[in-house]
């Protein structure tokens, strides 16, 4: 018994000195590696860790002149203000509506495109389709939104058609009902081709012998599609879908900022644009940070859940 205790204490002693010497040894052994990594470490400290620490201003009445250390702490006041405000429901609702519409409409589009391209027999034709549909991916958001504004204006190509049908000669982007369709459809226009790459890769990596075997068993084209192609692409689709759902609560502000206007805040204002306006335009730093932090926490929860689900179902994860 005594011996055992002795062994235990000496063991912890070894551990303690072990940690210290291990650190020293680690530094000695890897000193040249750490030297190389100095810029990286500075970068991560300044641009990742410092902003994370900076989120503390979500709990402060922050002012630029007083700084983080001089500003008064107000606890969860900003969060409560946000939850109580009329904006809370609006921005959360809009974020979810846009995201869910994207998942329902924008997400399947590249899958379908990949399946269609996969069925094209001429290599030349399918390559042409790919080259052309990838193109809009490289257009900047500013240009995309410029084109969208142009086309949906009352005298634009789409706007004038809509005006003729509805009989109202107005700019589509000033109407609440049009924002989500415009946002999602322009997203498809820009992203459908590029998004299909992943699925096309999954399809081309399918073993050709599977198709041979299926056709020997008398499966026609449709049967092959249902029993070989679909199961072949399904794991990729599921992984991508789970990851997409993981980003459910994060709708970026950049494109919306370029498209929306006061008339359509009712349907177009999302959490990230609200954060932008409160913080950058109204200089309400503490409140804006609080709303952003709220969004980050929810995003994080969704991502972790998605990652967990992906690991369980497919054995693949973000990291």
């Amino acid at each position: 018994m005594k011996m055992k205790q002795d062994a235990l204490t000496s063991n912890t002693l070894v551990c303690r000195t072990g940690l210290k010497s291990r650190l020293a040894k680690d530094f000695k052994k890897n000193s040249s590696l750490y030297l190389l990594a100095i810029p990286i470490i500075i970068y991560y400290v300044v641009f990742v860790i410092a902003p994370l620490c900076g989120t503390v201003i979500a709990f402060q009445n922050y002012s630029l002149t007083k700084g983080v250390f001089g500003s008064k702490f107000v606890g969860f006041k900003h969060f409560l203000d946000f939850f109580d405000s009329m904006y809370f429901f609006r921005v959360v609702k809009n974020t979810l509506v846009i995201s869910i519409t994207q998942i329902l409409v924008e997400f399947p589009a590249p899958v379908i495109l990949a399946l269609l391209i996969n069925e094209v027999k001429s290599k030349h034709y399918s390559r042409t389709v790919q080259t052309i549909t990838y193109l809009p991916h490289f257009i900047s958001l500013v240009v995309l939104c410029g084109i969208v504004r142009d086309f949906t204006a009352s005298d634009g190509i789409i706007g004038s058609v809509v005006a003729a049908i509805t009989g109202e000669d107005v700019n589509m982007l000033t109407q609440r009902g049009w924002f989500v369709p415009i946002y999602v459809l322009s997203g498809i226009w820009q992203g459908v081709g590029w998004g299909s790459i992943v699925y096309l890769a999954a399809l081309t990596s399918l073993d050709a012998s599977l198709y041979e075997a299926a056709s020997l068993d008398g499966a026609g084209r449709w049967k092959q599609f249902v029993h070989v192609t679909i199961p072949g692409i399904l794991p990729t689709v599921i992984t991508m879908l789970i990851m997409r759902i993981g980003r459910m609560t994060s709708v970026g502000s950049e494109k919306i900022l370029l498209l929306y206007n006061q008339n359509i805040y009712e349907t177009a204002d999302v959490i990230s644009t609200f954060v932008y306006r409160k913080g950058m335009l109204e200089q309400n730093y503490g409140f804006s940070t609080a709303v952003g932090l709220f969004n980050s926490v929810i995003n994080c929860a969704f991502l972790i859940a998605a990652n967990y689900a992906s690991k369980k179902i497919n054995g693949t994860a973000l990291w």
Binding site: P51, I57, Y134, S140, V143, G146, G220, W222, L318
Partner: protein, 290 residues
């Protein structure tokens, strides 16, 4: 053995080809429209509605206005600088980060990799980042467009998976020869991972060329605006650029917008078809490992 194609199968093939043709048309038409507008006459364009297959009253006034505009040249210069300097820094830091993270037996490397993973899940948000950029004195500095986003985590992952493909024996023999880590990165990792580096050069440079949001946040002086911000003024906010020569440019207000869109998109659009293979390859690596 060729099985006779069924009628339904043939119908599908034709429908599929027609559908994809329409898709290509829808993809290309907006771009074509913009190009045609850019070659049109401003006044004629205002009166025009509907589709546009050819320029109305062919005119180069839009391009003349663009090339005469000092702001545009200035913005172009800023954008080119950001693309070149930014991408160079991106690649250097991404390479080092990926190499550093691949050495998981070093304690500090493991700590950094936790931070990297954490940063993928959780972002501090707009304002804390903005305040950091202000506090380190980058506000209204062109380097605010380069330094705060110097490392893209997803590209680090792509790079790291490429480094992991380098045979361990090479690292071991370099170590035996007494090569420093710097030498290893410069002489072994960089040359062997050149294809991945090329892909990342493309990604980072397109990202820089197309970005506008950071410039809007961090840049105040118009003399430091990148091209995309001027583009935003003209194409999105519908403002006019300050013109030096008001007479000739006022009439080109409408076409200037389109000409500017064309000019600013041209570099990427011209390069893309030739490098498509590499761009696509990057998606694959990212998808498999990401």
């Amino acid at each position: 053995m060729k099985i006779k194609e069924s009628f339904g199968s043939k119908v599908f093939d034709i429908a599929n080809i027609v559908f994809l043709l329409l898709l290509m048309l829808i993809t290309l038409y907006p771009l074509w429209h913009v190009i045609m507008c850019s070659f049109s006459d401003s006044n004629a364009l205002i009166g025009h509605t509907g589709t546009l297959w050819m320029p109305v009253d062919f005119s180069l006034s839009g391009y003349q206005a663009v090339f005469k505009n000092e702001s545009v040249w200035n913005g172009f210069g800023v954008s080119v600088f950001v693309v070149i300097a930014g991408t160079a820094l991106n690649i250097l830091l991404t390479l080092i980060t990926a190499y550093f993270l691949s050495k998981q037996d070093a304690i500090l490397s493991r700590i950094v990799s936790y931070i990297v993973i954490f940063s993928m899940y959780f972002s501090a948000g707009l304002i804390p980042m903005y305040l950091v950029v202000r506090n380190v004195g980058l506000y209204n500095n062109i380097f605010a467009l380069i330094i705060p986003n110097a490392i893209n985590t997803f590209y680090v992952i792509i790079m790291r998976s490429s480094i992991q493909g380098v045979p361990d024996s090479l690292f071991e023999s370099a170590e035996l020869d007494g090569a420093s880590h710097f030498t290893v990165v410069a002489r072994i990792v960089a040359p062997l991972c050149m294809p991945t580096i090329a892909v990342l050069v493309l990604y980072y440079s397109v990202d820089h060329w197309n970005s506008w949001f950071n410039a809007m946040l961090y840049i105040r002086d118009r003399s430091k605006y990148p091209l995309q911000l001027f583009l935003r003024e003209v194409a999105v906010a519908n403002a006019t650029l300050e013109m030096q020569d008001t007479d000739s440019t006022a009439s080109a207000k409408e076409t200037l917008k389109y000409a500017l869109i064309v000019v600013s998109s041209l570099p990427v659009m011209c390069v893309y078809p030739f490098l498509q293979k590499y761009f696509v390859k990057g998606v694959m690596v990212g998808a498999v490992k990401g």
